[in-house]
Subunit: 605 residues, 2 copies
Amino acid sequence: MPEYKAPVRDMRFLAEDVLDMQAHYQTLPNGEEATPDLVDAIISEGAKFAENVLAPLNRSGDEEGCHWLDGEVITPKGFKAAYQQYVAGGWQSLSHPPEYGGQGLPMSLGVMISEMAGTANWSWGMYPGLTLGAMNTLFLHGTEAQKQTWLMRMTSGEWSGTMCLTEPQCGTDLGQVKTRAIPNGDETYSLSGTKIFISAGEHDLTENIVHIVLARLPDAPEGTRGISLFIVPKFKVNPDGSLGERNGVSCGSLEHKMGIKASATCVMNFDEAEGYLIGPENKGLQCMFTFMNTARIGTGIQGLASAELAYQGALPYARERLSMRSLSGTKQPDNVADSLIVHPDVRRMLLTMKAFAEGGRAMLYDAAKLADRMITAETESERNRLDDELGMLTPILKGFLTEAGLESANLGVQVYGGHGYIREHGMEQIIRDARISTLYEGTTGIQSLDLLGRKVLLSKGKDLNRLAGQILKYCKSVLTDDSVPRLKVLPFVGKVSALTLRWQYLSYRLAFRAARNRDAVGSASVDYLMFSGYVVMAYYWLQMLVAAQRKLMEATSEVAFYKAKVQTAEFYFSRILPRAETHAKTMLACPRTLTRMKEESFAFL
Amino acid sequence: MPEYKAPVRDMRFLAEDVLDMQAHYQTLPNGEEATPDLVDAIISEGAKFAENVLAPLNRSGDEEGCHWLDGEVITPKGFKAAYQQYVAGGWQSLSHPPEYGGQGLPMSLGVMISEMAGTANWSWGMYPGLTLGAMNTLFLHGTEAQKQTWLMRMTSGEWSGTMCLTEPQCGTDLGQVKTRAIPNGDETYSLSGTKIFISAGEHDLTENIVHIVLARLPDAPEGTRGISLFIVPKFKVNPDGSLGERNGVSCGSLEHKMGIKASATCVMNFDEAEGYLIGPENKGLQCMFTFMNTARIGTGIQGLASAELAYQGALPYARERLSMRSLSGTKQPDNVADSLIVHPDVRRMLLTMKAFAEGGRAMLYDAAKLADRMITAETESERNRLDDELGMLTPILKGFLTEAGLESANLGVQVYGGHGYIREHGMEQIIRDARISTLYEGTTGIQSLDLLGRKVLLSKGKDLNRLAGQILKYCKSVLTDDSVPRLKVLPFVGKVSALTLRWQYLSYRLAFRAARNRDAVGSASVDYLMFSGYVVMAYYWLQMLVAAQRKLMEATSEVAFYKAKVQTAEFYFSRILPRAETHAKTMLACPRTLTRMKEESFAFL
């Protein structure tokens, strides 16, 4: 069974040797407080909380699940106490501004905490995670009064938040939203409708729940242009801030799911519930995007979490379980058999999980730097530029990393053989929990359309070319960097450069095709997304390889650690990156191989 | 929710247009009874049973699971009645010889029945499936008296069978088996030990259970050379055939598993249980191989079943669920949105499942022809040759098709989006049930070592070259076949020929490497297995393409059906087969990228 240990050494490697987080913090208006000592203390306290409080509740939470009784939801044993400890530790307020009760630390530090909490116990992490999304939405789009009323109490952790988008007839296609909001003549609205798949929609962790809800005003335009965003609290709030009467929103039932069973997934019924408009009328979807982008990067963290936990579960088993002899000769003559880890194919599986976890971590931490800068940007144009940069990466982080996480979760079970299928080992739970990650917050298909259709083609390659330019510039810089053993990194620099140029070339090819046939986008998009993911991860593995080679050249005292980084990088380049080749080829297959089959010809039963 | 319909039209296509099963039956000593009318009747009755009796119990069986009480196991509601109906229908005895109560029909017909039953309800199918394996073992290795006592009652379905190999300390590495068998001085032995993961080890479907058990005689050599095979019944049998006293074997508990919850997975405790030796002393493992090969091909069927059921579940949802508009213009103006199936990426997922299901079916049915011929072979050398031919295919059928099935199961959920994660839709169950298929009966890693290490390298490529020769000969024959529109198949013939030659080339490369470094085998094996799978499936898709083009040239009345075959074949070649490229590249990566990392360097926590 996986016993989570926060990968603090690896986090420190990224922060110090690869991404230079201290230098980054110092460029931020709110960064001066993030001193090395404080950051270390935060990470080590976060690690303790994740390891000692959250991890032990992961399997029990899965076995027990959430229970619904007359509209109330009971979370599994220990969840509430853990939540109270989390709030008392000030974790919920870490990255929000002091004027709203936060500690004003960089968002990127929050990502590290989210990673540790989420790897230890993804289901539990959903509750503060959704609250964070609601906080971000209110922070960016709420009025000052709304922030005082609602945001402050979420920052403090007293209240939690949700994101109410999906309805029975639509998830992806939010233009079909039917929930109605009728103005009451004062500042309030009366909301009626049904929302489904509402994570943390009802639970016993907090005294109030702040729902952020998409709904239509009367006479709103059809489709996505007629959707507005509302605050709908579980309990109304009196002018003095105390809780008033129960609002007209209630949990009709819980979904029975494959995994994340300790996360309450609710059907929420709005029956003339009192709500308050956030942002301008009919601009709800734009406002909600804030929420969705947070959630998408958060879901990318789930990909990393799945890979890390699967690896941490599989590694000790591979070391301890004795099976067969190494084909190249007995390795452990004193045992009845050699341990699994001597077998190359078991190592292939372990290293795949390891490479995805460490590569994903680097991608996410670097993206979090962009988010830090975007939040604190001083000009609108600077903010927009950073938003575009992050927007280019978001579908890759969400789409690619969750696919890699799901693959890793499956490999974790595979290392265990038949024992992986047994619940008590805790490995199959990782698959069940990970399985949602390629579905919610936009499926992999939706991420791929966002990437290729919107981010690449619609911007005429602007954001792609900026990212590609950055990668090529980095490659060039390595070649003239005397602190790096050039011959040892040269082949990898070459691979990353070549693939980056190919990425641009493939994008142009697809742009030409799409100009003639719009179906060329959807025919290529998932292969394009996966290709992009492998290339971007290669860029980060190159950076890690270079950083590790630099340390080895400096005669570090931690030779084993840095050698392992080099070896993992080389594994990634030789055994994972070749997959990009297939995606490159497949994305160029004729769209008609997908589109020409008649709908009625899909089956003759 | 998937509502299983047996794909009878597709089965008929294979039987009539591709594999010419009638001509095949007529070459078998036991084939004359398999007249077209009888075969049709059997398939249509099997389809009805699978659709009407087994399919409705699939989800309820998953929800209810098996229950253990004081050593007894209760199967889910309806399972026993279905089993009785199955036995009454004579299905258990279909392919066994009349002298042991069977109907003497070809084994390949049994595979079709197993496919339908297993797709409808894999958990239920495990009970007769394990019995079939026990029957095959007894038929090949039992004495005449043993066959009269034990085989006859399994053929009739009165009793069921199991396969007791795995112990807590070993699954794959059966040389570690510890269960002891002490001779009692008469023809009986006294067996003691613990077996785990015993499917159908205890249940309420039959009055007796015949366990086939691996155990060690006193003073047996260590390792795999000291293992013998025994019959251990749940109830002893009196000389008159009536049931005697309870034997010393009992079910200690049931495993809690990720899926196939309605299949009882038992811990079996043998406590001086009375047993009878099958086959020669210390040759148990060789005898057990009969069982394992049946089981491996049976598990290959699970890959097909997962792909088929996922497809059948996803297709109606893709047709009905309305989401977004087609990028190439509105397709269904009367609906609020277009249905999922208009989107190319959804079609990619559907066609992937379809191509795997139909391709897998062709591979399995053709392999079943080999099994038919092997069972009825008239000379030892003929039997051995066919055994080798089938042995080359077995790890591909098991290893590759189960991986394809698992991928398909995941795609089925993916088509549903978030709804796929909800239990009531029945799609996530397909993943949970399919997940075992790459683990039991030898993991994918073990299959890959069997393929590359044993079947290819140990035989110096004999069986590979025979298969490659057969494929190339077929390719050549197509080029001179006037009943086929040559230009329409030429590119595909070219691809299959080229990949087959590449397969041989890669095998030689790996053979040279392995001669220097045995770890080269395990470093390449899974990629080699997957490459082999894609190539072999391409060979079958070529045969289906050719057969369909022939029918189209003959001006068939079923143009839509045959066109869909052609289009699915072209999809396979353009969008699935390119994956072989990555596997070809990756299998040649240096083994040291896997082997050189020190065991202690895998983590620095």
